[in-house]
Amino acid sequence: MITTALFFLFAGFAIACAVLMVYHKNPLYSAIALIGVFIALACIYMLLAAPFIAAVQVLVYAGAIMVLVIFVIMLLNLEEDRPLTRLRHLYLIGSILGLVLLVQTLFIFYAVKKSPQSAQEQADAGLTINIGRAMFTEYLLPVEIAGVLLLMAIVGAMVLSRRLKETRLEIIQKEKRQ
């Protein structure tokens, strides 16, 4: 009973924050609302007996990615956003994507109904040790691909932000002049 009440509390909070994020004019408030969504989602994961996912959700999304987003907003000092009339066609794409998500959710409901797991299996699936085991046996290939992708991103960031030494810069400029 308490679990259900908590679920509706966090779900309601998540939806309210999501709506606020989309409709608020100030980008910083939107970002704060998005953090609220992430934290509410983490609470729901916790209720679903998936503590590892919950902790990682907060650590990665709320603690790392959104900090960078907020940094950018703070440093750019963005003005309040005017309604973007030229992006009207995105409404259509957005509704199609929303529909796809809804269908996916229904499909998951169907799949769970078809092959129900025992309560013990469900509770154990969220444990760190089981997630680790699954990642390095059953889902090894996706993990490796994601790892390589992240490595590429890191190397790319290093290359883009690297500062050329003064002398080298001068050489290039001289070459350009010639």
Partner: protein
């Protein structure tokens, strides 16, 4: 019948509420006296007396300070973003307080038979754990909550609409994000040796380990963790965000009265959390080697002695914080960043690789 269901639903809430109330107040009182201890010890280091007017040896000073903070006028700068301005100290303090629920205060106590309670409320309760929530990923939980704590500082700096505040907020967020990496990497060695992210299981692993405390095989990890922790809590020698000579008071320049007190409290509760993590991960937490020969494991004297040992370890780290503040000068900001990224992080990763090999070979 309805009564029974209501009581069954509410009883766990009451138990948890009591536990949370006791733990939070205990921690907050220790934190209040840490502030007094800091002023006393700093005075002693600098050849002064320190606060000695309010109560004997200044023992009532924390309460006097708190009352003063409460009764000061609330001021918000004219051009500040009001909502964020008031939200920031709350975020800082809430994120500082939330890790308290996973602190392992002591070993479980074997208790009396609780079956006299009505409606079978006490059935199956064999022991009383001295930790509020002991779950699978307690360590990750602490890390993630502290990483959310950055918002308190970043938003405070931005919302005050002042250059000093913004610079202080940016510096401190950059510092916390950078040192979080080294901190996380230094903990992984311990996690690997214990084979768990649960704080209780990490302490249990240390009771079984040949050298008892993980500080011996993980000495490099310990040093890296301690250094990164000083930077995480924005303390000397890494207190760049509030470098007085450059930034007045950093991110909380524009904060007055109780809002400032919330930031202040958050900083000291964070110090306490870091001390708890240090003693739990590297010094065995509540575990005292050889104590089970004197008292039976699970008895009340065993728990009391263990709890006192736990507190003593924490007090040592809190003292270390104050001691360092009294002796070391401050880093320059570029020195701080390059130290974190170019020295601390590689050392932590090197320690991680070393530990992996050692665990694989079965030496650790």
């Amino acid at each position: 019948m309805l009564m029974e269901e209501i009581i069954k639903a509410i009883f766990p809430l009451i138990v948890y509420f009591t536990a949370v109330f006791l733990a939070f107040n205990g921690v907050l009182i220790i934190v209040a006296y840490t502030v007094l201890a800091e002023r006393k010890i700093l005075g002693w280091i600098q050849g002064r007396i320190g606060p000695n007017r309010v109560g004997p040896w200044g023992l009532l000073q924390p309460f006097a300070d708190l009352l003063k903070f409460i009764f000061k006028e609330e001021i918000a700068p004219d051009k500040s973003t009001k909502f964020v301005y008031f939200l920031a100290p709350l975020v800082a303090l809430i994120c500082a307080l939330m890790p308290i629920i996973v602190y392992p205060f002591g070993p479980p106590i074997k208790t009396i038979d609780w079956s006299f309670l009505p409606y079978g409320l006490g059935d199956g309760i064999k022991q009383l754990p001295l930790v509020i929530a002991d779950f699978d990923v307690a360590l990750l939980y602490v890390l993630s909550i502290t990483s959310v704590g950055v918002y308190g500082i970043a938003l405070a700096g931005w919302a005050s609409n002042s250059k000093y505040s913004l610079m202080g907020g940016l510096r401190s967020s950059a510092q916390m994000i950078s040192y979080e990496l080294a901190m996380g990497a230094s903990i992984l060695g311990v996690v690997m040796m214990a084979g768990s992210l649960s704080l209780t299981k990490i302490i249990e692993a240390q009771t079984r380990y040949p050298t008892r405390w993980f500080i011996i095989p993980q000495f490099i990890g310990f040093i890296v963790f301690l250094t990164a922790a000083f930077a995480e809590t924005n303390r000397v020698p890494f207190d760049l965000p509030e470098a007085e000579t450059e930034l007045v008071a950093g991110f909380h320049t524009e904060y007055s009265a109780l809002k400032f007190a919330l930031f202040f409290m958050a900083e000291y509760v964070n110090m306490f959390t870091v001390s708890v993590m240090c003693s739990t991960l590297f010094l065995g937490g509540w575990y005292v080697p050889g104590l089970s020969r004197i008292f039976e494991y699970g008895s009340i004297p065993y728990a009391v002695v263990s709890h006192i040992a736990f507190l003593l370890k924490i007090f040592f780290f809190l003292f270390l914080y104050i001691w360092v503040r009294g002796t070391l000068p401050r880093f320059r900001f570029d020195q701080l960043m390059s130290f974190g990224w170019k020295f601390l992080l590689p050392v932590a990763i090197g320690n991680l690789v070393f530990t992996t090999i050692m665990v694989y070979l079965g030496i650790f």
